[in-house]
Symmetry: C2
Subunit: 110 residues, 2 copies
């Protein structure tokens, strides 16, 4: 026990959960926000921006990348990380659809 029973859920549910989980940490929210706010996406300054040590930032970046939320390219000496628009769009669509479904609901007891 302790391991998530991913095989019991749909592929879509697992994929969504993976993306949500990746965003489920304030440092990773901050990373995403910084990647978006900076117009370019050369991101060597992330370590200076965040209150975390370099290996920790690197690890968070890896997790965001594994979840498909960011992409990384080698760009000469530095590495270029940037947000994967499609992944964010997918999350956004899901939540927009959820919101719609909720608006159409009548009976609500809480």
């Amino acid at each position: 026990m302790g391991a998530t029973k991913t095989d019991h859920f749909s592929e879509e549910q697992n994929k969504l959960a993976i993306m949500m989980k990746a965003l489920g940490h304030p440092a990773r929210i901050a990373i995403m926000e910084h990647l978006i706010s900076v117009d370019s996406c050369i991101c060597g300054d992330l370590v200076n921006v965040l209150p975390l040590a370099q290996p920790t930032v690197s690890q968070h970046l890896k997790e965001l990348k594994n979840a498909g939320l960011i992409k990384g390219n080698i760009e000469g000496t530095a590495i270029c990380y940037c947000v994967d628009k499609d992944a964010i769009a997918e999350l956004q669509r899901y939540l927009a659809n959820t919101t719609l479904q909720l608006e159409h609901k009548e009976k609500s007891c809480c």
Copy 2:
């Protein structure tokens, strides 16, 4: 170590991360989807719907409630859980805004 450094991030970043984290598990995605799809929100059937034992489901519900994503009312013998529309709307707005920001971005190297 091991504990998230919440005090180093903004309140909004922490709040978002808490909600995202709550959705970062396929069982909790499934719970939300079920709560939304069922027109009423008396939810004694959740245990039958999910491939998890009753205490586990109860624990997931508690986490969703702690994150502010669902509300629970005692409804006679059963307990009525339902989605907190405002919380979902908040998440949705955040992602919609993020998507907008991404659309306006020109330079993208990945």
